[in-house]
């Protein structure tokens, strides 16, 4: 079965969605990701959806859910690379994904994670 790969980079889990997600795939991703977060004790999850061209309410909800689950497991989620058409669709569907942080591309997303208060305070502690 098709799976979306989850890469670990330091404290961060990197998820790049390279194909159009179907419902089962999204559910599998949710399972895999939560398992990986608890295994690796990752502090951040970066989901790149730049290749995602079609979203429906289900996928929109899954993205919100994944972010919510990650937060409970003490990892912040940044959603990056959303296409304009996808953003408009989600807004028209009434899903503005509150509570999910967003960035234009992976680079900006990584900056956002690095700049986040949780990370910065830890960094400060380590450097002291």
């Amino acid at each position: 079965m098709e799976r979306i790969p989850i890469l670990k980079m330091g404290d961060c889990l990197l998820v790049t969605v390279q194909v159009d997600m179907h419902d089962q795939m999204a559910l599998t991703l949710q399972d895999d990701l939560t398992t990986r977060i608890s295994q690796t004790k990752a502090k951040a999850v970066l989901i790149d959806i730049s290749a995602l061209e079609i979203v429906d309410s289900f996928i929109g909800r899954m993205l919100g859910n994944i972010a919510g689950m990650a937060r409970i497991l003490d990892a912040q989620t940044v959603l990056v690379g959303m296409r304009p058409a996808v953003a408009i669709t989600l807004v028209e569907l009434g899903m503005s994904l509150p509570g999910v942080r967003t960035a234009l591309n992976v680079e900006r997303g990584m900056d956002l994670i690095r700049m986040s208060p949780a990370n910065r305070s830890r960094h400060d502690r380590e450097s002291r």
Partner: protein, 294 residues
Amino acid sequence: MPKPASSKLSEVLLRYESDILATWMQLQLSAVKHRGDLIKNSDLREQSARFLELVREGVQTGDPNVQSGAAWAATREMLESLSRSRAKLGFTPAETASFVYSLKAAIFERLREEMGSNPQALVTEIITASELLDVLGLLTMEMYQKGREGVIARQQQELMELSTPVVMLWDGVLALPLIGTLDSGRTQVVMENLLQRIVETGASIAILDITGVPTVDTLVAQHLLKAVSAARLMGADCIISGIRPQIAQTIVHLGVDLGNVTTKATLAEAFRVALNRTSRRIVDADFQASTTGA
């Protein structure tokens, strides 16, 4: 069954076509509504001759169905192009319709000369001709209206494209000066333009300036918030600026919740916030010179 009345009309039209045309032209040129500034005499003569010819051909077939009959198709087509071109040239509806109605007098005059001795037949004849030209005149009005509506639709389209520019104020800072009423159609265009520019420029802050939006009701506010949410999903923060005092009052009275969107009174203020957020600041040149120079 061919009506004798219409055959008489067609006979007159056929026999005196050039005379009628001459009288008609004279009437048109001397009319108060004649617009010599908008149309050349030669063009008018050409149009008149063509129209008269088409009317004669139509009358000869004896088809009473002017609105949709096949015999009148060419006439209708001609009137359509004529009304459209006159609507574009700037003729008023009355001036356009008078083109057809002025033909009446020319035809009636000719009929009177021809049948003056027989008043009853003359009246019948005049009624027939009058009815025919009335229908054609109304048709002209209808076509004119359609032409005008086409012009309006085109202007709307142009206005929509013109009034939704996305300008780059600074690296990573976009501004969207919105002018005019925001309806759902325009919001869609605005949103698409904005998101497209965010992708192109990699901007992280967008300022929606609503100085030019005359009224903000719940619907407009909802449309604004939609644009803000969509931009946020693309990783760009939005600031709404240019909120006039009256609009601030309306927004509060309507109970519209602008959520956690940053709002500023002026574009300048919003720009300052945008620079702050991107870790930049504007300093007074003199101030800087005095501190570094000392």
